[in-house]
């Protein structure tokens, strides 16, 4: 096993990785931007080096600085976390070329899965179901029209090198096809320097279900079951859980096998995730592979008892992983809520600022993976996710109850957070029944309605505070204007009476 590794990330995931390293006796090297000096992960790691700069481009995306610090500190491996350089094949190659281990898949696997048409092609070849559509980039309008007719409208036109919704167009009818392809090509060219686009059937109201994969260098490859991540806002996951209410043993085993096939097909090693869309007929389609640790990995840890970061480190150091067969049954049920510094009452506008006071919940079944502490500033420069709260219980309903309780306990001052919104989602009867798709948040106006009973309590509290403040001011100005004994004693009387 490694003696010392560098964590090329920040926030909760840097702390998460450092905790496992501490447990394993591996020394950790933190890197930090000028804004992160006060972040808990910096003090928790054994060593800490400044990246000298503020923006991501100047700091966490600078592979040259990171490699320099590896050399200076003697770190034998780099864990990239998620985001930043985690799915950058050049970075992975650069690390390995410098004689440092990369805690992640081979660069070739990152590269292949980063190219959407290449990945589709490889999946089709491996017999993994993909969303019906073109196998390669569109070369002619005629071919495009033929494909669109055969898969049936509505369809999606998507950028081959794409991501984040850029170069993507939803087409409802044949008349709009030509125009939409041209627009998507222009956008893709501008965004990715590659104007290739392809056609996929548009799945209406799908569910998002993904499988956690582990593959070691000894040829073992297993899955750890599914996570359901259908509760999304603008393609951003909000709540994740394991197991999914949709899957039974049979579908789980089919999809798990497909996920293993997908990972094998790209020569995968280390931890990765195969994302599927599942339509209303419970048919599943490969969506993409995330070639790194996922934000939502804790739900899988809770229901399997594994430490996925530990397995990542075992695999990267050439050892066998903890388990040698796939997980067939789970220990209870786990749910994760992502807590963002956003204001749900104002269209989820980012809410930067300083955290004046924070007191996270605890107690039975609650785990928190957080990256902040009191006095920390949530800046505009990085991702607004500040914490992940995970609830475990023997059953899904109990896990929901525990999560609602824990969110209600969470004290956070100084910034807005999505906590009130998360509670509304968890208490929605469709969520409780498990009757939802990726459209759930967009469809449910009721998630944004005020709870008037609680509103009245808040209105009263504000009125009482307002009144007390006014009285305080009155006394202050009395005291300032004069110091005659009479007035002071009168003031004292009033105070005593309160």
């Amino acid at each position: 096993m490694f003696k010392k590794i560098l964590i090329a990330n920040r926030g909760e995931i840097a702390l998460r990785i450092a905790r496992t390293c501490r447990d394993l006796g591996i020394k950790t090297v933190a890197v930090f931007s000028d804004l992160d000096l006060k972040a808990p992960y910096v003090h928790f790691c054994d060593e800490a080096y400044s990246l000298q700069g503020k923006t991501s481009l100047d700091t966490y995306l600078r592979s040259d600085k990171i490699i320099d610090i590896c050399k200076k500190s003697g770190a034998e491996a780099v864990h990239p976390g998620y985001g930043f350089l985690a799915e950058n094949a050049d970075f992975a190659r650069n690390i390995v070329d410098n004689g440092i281990s990369f805690v992640g898949p081979p660069p070739e696997a990152i590269e292949l899965m980063g190219n959407k048409t290449a990945a589709r092609k490889r999946m089709i070849k491996a017999g993994v179901p993909v969303v019906p559509g073109t196998e390669t980039a569109i070369r002619s309008k005629k071919a495009a029209s033929k494909i669109a007719e055969s898969v049936g409208y509505p369809i999606l036109v998507k950028a081959a090198a794409g991501g984040g919704g850029k170069g993507m167009r939803l087409v409802d009818k044949a008349d709009d096809l030509d125009f939409s392809i041209e627009a998507a090509q222009r956008e893709a060219g501008a965004a990715f320097g590659n104007s290739d686009v392809y056609i996929e059937k548009f799945l209406e109201k799908p569910r998002h279900i993904e499988f956690q994969i582990l593959a070691d260098t000894k040829g073992n490859i297993i899955h750890l079951g599914e996570r359901e991540c259908s509760i999304q806002r603008r393609h951003q996951k909000v709540i994740e859980e394991s197991p999914s209410v949709l899957l039974d043993r049979e579908l789980r085993s089919q999809m798990g096998e497909a996920a293993i096939k997908a990972a094998e097909a790209c020569g995968y090693q280390n931890a990765g995730t195969i994302e599927f869309l599942v339509d209303k007929n419970r048919k599943y389609y490969f969506l993409e592979m995330n070639t790194r640790l996922q934000v939502e990995h804790p739900v899988t840890e809770m229901v399997t008892g594994l430490d996925i970061v530990k397995d990542q480190l075992l695999i990267a150091s050439g050892q066998e992983m903890t388990l040698n067969k796939s997980v067939e049954c789970f220990w209870g049920h786990a749910i994760e809520c992502r807590i963002y510094a956003e204001n749900p009452d104002n269209n989820f506008a980012p809410s930067p600022g300083i955290i004046h006071h924070i007191a996270p919940p605890s107690g039975p079944g609650i785990r928190e993976d957080s990256g902040v502490t009191a006095g920390n500033e949530i800046s505009l420069y990085y991702d607004p996710m500040i914490s992940k709260l995970i609830a475990w219980a023997p059953t899904r309903n109990e896990a929901i109850e525990r999560m609602v309780r824990a969110l209600g306990e969470y004290e956070l001052q100084g910034i807005h957070s999505t906590i009130p919104f998360l509670i509304k989602v968890l208490q929605h009867k469709r969520f409780i029944k498990g009757d939802f798709t990726t459209n759930f948040i967009a469809e449910e106006e009721s998630l944004f309605r005020m709870n008037e009973k609680r509103g009245r309590v808040a209105a009263l509290a504000a009125a009482i505070y307002f009144e007390q403040e006014k009285n305080k001011k009155k006394f202050q100005s009395n005291a300032e204007n004069t110091s005659s004994n009479w007035k002071l004693s009168k003031r004292k009387k009033v105070l005593d009476r309160r």
Binding site: H357, P384, I464, E467
Partner: protein, 167 residues
């Protein structure tokens, strides 16, 4: 004295009545029984008819930011005078015919989607503001003509900074 607490469009009206030197709070003729004690750090115990709540209250101008039982409310509190005054000011601003669009959050102006002189519709996109890796489109809350654009693409702006004047 009357106290008005409002959240979004909903208004609660309370009456503050002094009896024998002590202040009592009433809502529609019913007296409200409560205990309200500071715990420090903007935290308060609020026991209302025996029901216990932990409340955070942070004041920002006339808005009271309230965290309560996992929920959040922005409460505007006014007495009769301040309420009337605000109504007057709002009326005056509206009749002048000019509305100023401000930045709801600090960020970077990455795109301005309109030009001075453009005629715009209600909820038409005006400006893209980038913050925390996300693009936020600021939309017009009324139709009108773009009178003046006060910012440029690439410019960082503070919260509440004026961006565009609509006439």
């Amino acid at each position: 004295m009357k106290i008005f607490s409002s959240i979004r469009d909903k208004v609660w009206k309370f009456d503050q009545i002094e009896q024998n030197g002590t202040q009592f709070l009433y809502e529609k003729n019913d007296q409200i029984h409560y205990e309200f004690k500071s715990l420090g750090n903007n935290r308060f115990v609020f026991i209302l008819n025996g029901h216990s709540h932990l409340v955070h209250i942070i004041k920002e101008n006339s808005i009271y930011h309230i965290h309560l039982d996992g929920d959040y409310f922005a409460v505007r509190v006014e007495n009769e005078q301040t309420r009337e005054l605000r109504a007057l000011v709002e009326h005056a601003t509206q009749s002048s015919g000019e509305r100023i669009v401000c930045a709801p959050i600090p960020g970077l102006i990455t795109k301005i989607k309109v030009n001075e002189g453009d005629k715009i519709q209600h909820s038409e996109g005006l400006v893209i503001l980038e913050a925390m890796k996300m693009e936020n489109e600021i939309k017009s809350e009324s139709g009108g003509i773009i009178k003046k654009i006060l910012v440029k693409e690439g410019m960082p702006v503070d919260k509440d900074q004026e961006l565009i004047v609509i006439g």
